[in-house]
Amino acid sequence: MPPREQLHGHLDLILLTLLEPEPLYGLRIAQEAQRLTDGYFDFKEGSLYPALHRLERAGFLQAEDREVGRNGRPRKYYCLTPSGRTELTARQREWAAFRQAMARLEGQA
């Protein structure tokens, strides 16, 4: 499991990436994060919601109510907005540049 600070530092990128293929609701986002990383991204799920709400407020995500959940209320799905996709692309570029720089650094060592 990565250090918590590292996970939180990249939480926006992680969430935007997970939501790129399809809209998901909170629990499914957490489950997908664990499934796709073989359990490496195992964070406290409560931390998801402030991040999702922040991204929604920023206009990167849009929430919509869909099927009824176990409490009898509609589940809130989050989907990427056009500006969310732009933001994701920008963050992926930054991340790719960071990884390449790290790879070069490691090649020097």
Partner: protein, 370 residues
């Protein structure tokens, strides 16, 4: 269901401090997450209680979740309001209007005590000083920033009134993240200092976006775009009435039935038939064995009923404000009949005129709806 108390407790803790509409939305979202997780854990063989606990553990500490949610929903709102109030305040500049509106930052009371001092007024519903100044000047009120003994203040002179000095603040709560770049004043301080010092009749009417009348001047607190629920303002009015009419209660701890100041939200909802004019505000007082006082307030609905929360499920009403000491139940035996005091607000906010009356609803006993 045995699993509900921890769930309710978690949801309350996690969403405390959010505005009511926001709280309801976030509660529903978290609840669904927890129940879904718990269901999966039950399918995996855990019993109901274990499954719920496992689900809560995966969410993490409720306080941590609350801090995260407040950072998104509460703190930035204060900053946005500063700008928004300026904008909306400017809109009220049109000279053809006879009454003005000012936006109010919704908040629950953050301070109060039952001692007889102005410093103990609860602070609730914050008005941006710049926005208020614009709106009041439009109404012919002279507004002047001054430095009072207690710090920065606004001096207000309404048509025909004496000067009233109202303190202003940059700290809207008790934590550093609630300090803003703009100055605000508490709606409670504004209303009660006007009532005390202006020499004009002062009254309040309405629950959402209440209208404040000072002599012939009308000011609506809140706007259609940013409605203000006057819960804190009316609980403040009830406290004022108690200070004036009930026996002194030094050292008594006050809890609001709603809001972050309460250690928990009261759940015993009593629907009382009062057959009063819709909109009239009532308050309900109950006390715990240590004397702590629990207060809720709500307006009468179209059926002449008012729904208020109390500390106890089964309550018997006492008829006089002077009976407030009788509300304290004995520590033992538990489950004994508890007493409550139903208060009716007259709408006047006048130190010389009693504005709170004790009353008894139809049927002197009430058993909570849930």
């Amino acid at each position: 269901m045995s699993a509900r108390p921890p769930l309710e407790q978690y949801l309350r803790r996690a969403t405390r401090g959010l505005s009511r509409p926001q709280r309801l939305k976030v509660r529903a979202e978290l609840e669904e997450h927890i129940l879904e997780r718990a269901w999966a854990a039950q399918c995996a063989g855990l019993n109901e209680d274990q499954a719920l606990q496992a689900a809560l553990d995966t969410l993490g500490d409720a306080g941590q979740v609350r801090r995260g949610l407040q950072a998104v929903h509460v703190a930035p709102q204060l900053w946005r309001w500063s700008a928004l109030t300026l904008l909306l305040g400017a809109v009220t500049l049109f000279p053809t209007l006879t009454a003005a509106q000012v936006p109010v930052l919704n908040s629950f009371p953050t301070l109060a005590c039952l001692a007889d001092t102005r410093a103990c007024l609860p602070s609730a519903g914050w008005l941006n000083v710049d926005s208020l100044t614009v709106a009041l000047r439009q109404l012919g009120v002279t507004v002047r920033p001054v430095n009072a003994a207690s710090g920065a203040a606004l001096q207000l002179v309404f048509p025909g009134s004496r000067a009233v000095t109202v303190p202003t603040s940059q700290n809207l709560g008790r934590s550093p993240d609630q300090i803003t770049s703009s100055r605000f004043l508490s709606s409670n301080a504004l209303v009660y200092l006007l009532a005390e010092q202006s020499g004009l009749p002062v009254s309040l009417e309405g629950w959402i976006n209440p209208q404040l009348r000072v002599g012939t001047t009308k000011l609506t607190l809140g706007t259609a775009a940013t409605p203000f629920e006057a819960y804190g303002l009316y609980t403040g009015a009830l406290l004022e009435g108690l200070r004036r009419s009930a026996p002194p209660m030094p050292g008594v701890t006050l809890h609001w039935a709603r809001g972050p100041i309460s250690p928990f939200t009261l759940e015993e909802r009593h629907t009382l038939q009062v057959s009063d004019t819709p909109g009239t505000v009532y308050g309900l007082l109950t006390r715990d064995p240590s004397g702590g006082l629990y207060l809720d307030a709500a307006p009468v609905d179209g059926k002449g009923q008012v729904t208020l929360t109390a500390l106890w499920k089964d309550i018997l009403f006492v008829p006089r404000l002077a009976d407030v000491e009788q509300l304290i139940p004995p520590r033992q035996p538990l489950g004994q009949q508890k007493y409550a005091l139903l208060l009716r607000l007259t709408g006047r906010v006048d130190p010389a005129v009693p504005n709170v009356q004790a009353t008894v609803p139809s049927g002197v006993r009430s058993i909570a709806d849930r």
